[in-house]
Amino acid sequence: MRCHEASEWMSLRLDGLLDAQEKRMLDAHLGTCTSCRAEWERMSVACALFAQPAMVAPPGDMQSRIMTRVSRYNARVRLVRRVLLGFLAVLIGGALMMAPVLETLQHTSHSANWLEGAREAARVMLAAGGTLVQSLLLMVDAAAFAPAWALAGAYALLIGGLAAVWMRLVSRAQRGALGPTTAARQRLTGRS
């Protein structure tokens, strides 16, 4: 038996993982090798310190402090979710409101300078949108698709993308594993 192997076996022996024959083999080596015997004695001395490890009791109010932190975390998650949903609502609402505003701007006669500016901006935006649609149609033509189908597809893609972004944002806020129904339940229990 090599000394390195013997050293590994010492560790196994301290964990009670050697059978009777292996123990005899190790003992035989320890009987002939003084440096291994010294190592074995020191290892045993060191590990004897842990034979009956002292357990310490956690502070009595630790659990309540943990629970306080958990509910603070829940409150933060709820807040973030509410802010995100609110922001999205404002965004979508704003986008929907832009359409009639732009429409009106197109038809009103220029009465003030700021209105002129806004009209210009709207025109640019519409032009940009038009270019986008045109390039889309060009691509569609190039691919020899029926334009109506392609438009529907592009629209579905856009909606899908928006939905994915939205899901990502909301699921990030919900990383604490709380569905909306659970959150509602928590609000109720929190109040009671």
Binding site: S7, S11, A54, M62, Q63, V70, A177, T182
Partner: protein, 204 residues
């Protein structure tokens, strides 16, 4: 504490039931606190680590795999946190060279919270643990304080069983070296003292 009971707590806590999570904390705060206490060496940091561990457990409840033993999962979160703390404390990542050149230095600082019954033995025990690099300290603590088998230690640490085996072996070798050094230190110390006493008696 059955596995069914644990599953119930986890499911309840996932649904946002605070009482379920409270039961879970109650059941595992002892093991987690003891692990942190032995890894970090003082009660203040141990409590911080235990709190942080349970907060992480709460945040990650969704990713818990019910096939896994709950205690192993919680202890692995605690272990990772403690190892990170120890690494930050040292300010640098521990490289293999550092592990090999790690040596025990006698530590004479007073440790008030340890003044229980067996001061001498627990001081020796603490010095022994303090002298081990984090990964090696972890396997010793899991082996002795949590009384885990090699397979369970492997589940907690994420290392293979053979890696656990060799880490325990290396840790014990390091501790044997510490015992050797303290023997030499004592021998040197008593010789020095004897010499100074002799010198003193000669001078009279």
């Amino acid at each position: 504490m059955g596995a069914d009971q644990e599953r119930e707590w986890v499911l309840g806590a996932r649904e946002g039931d605070q009482e379920c999570f409270g039961n879970l904390v109650q059941a595992f705060q002892g093991p987690v606190y003891n692990l942190a206490y032995r890894m970090l060496g003082n009660s203040a940091e141990a409590e911080d680590a235990a709190q942080e561990t349970f907060l992480r457990v709460y945040r990650r409840l969704d990713s818990y795999d019910p096939q896994r033993k709950l205690s192993s999962w919680i202890l692995s979160i605690a272990s990772h946190y403690c190892i990170d703390c120890l690494r930050k404390r040292r300010g640098v990542m521990v490289s293999m060279e550092e592990i090999n050149s790690w040596r025990w230095v006698p530590d004479d600082r007073p440790k008030p919270e340890e003044r229980v019954m067996d001061v001498e033995a627990s001081d020796a025990m603490r010095q022994m643990l303090d002298g081990l690099p984090p990964q090696y300290r972890l396997v010793i603590v899991l082996r002795y304080w949590q009384d885990l088998s090699y397979a369970e230690i492997s589940e907690v640490t994420g290392a293979s069983i053979s890696a656990v085996k060799s880490r325990l072996h290396r840790a014990r070798q390091m501790m044997a070296t510490q015992v050797k050094e303290s023997e030499q230190y004592q021998v040197q110390h008593t010789t020095e003292r004897r010499e100074s006493v002799n010198a003193l008696s000669r001078s009279f």
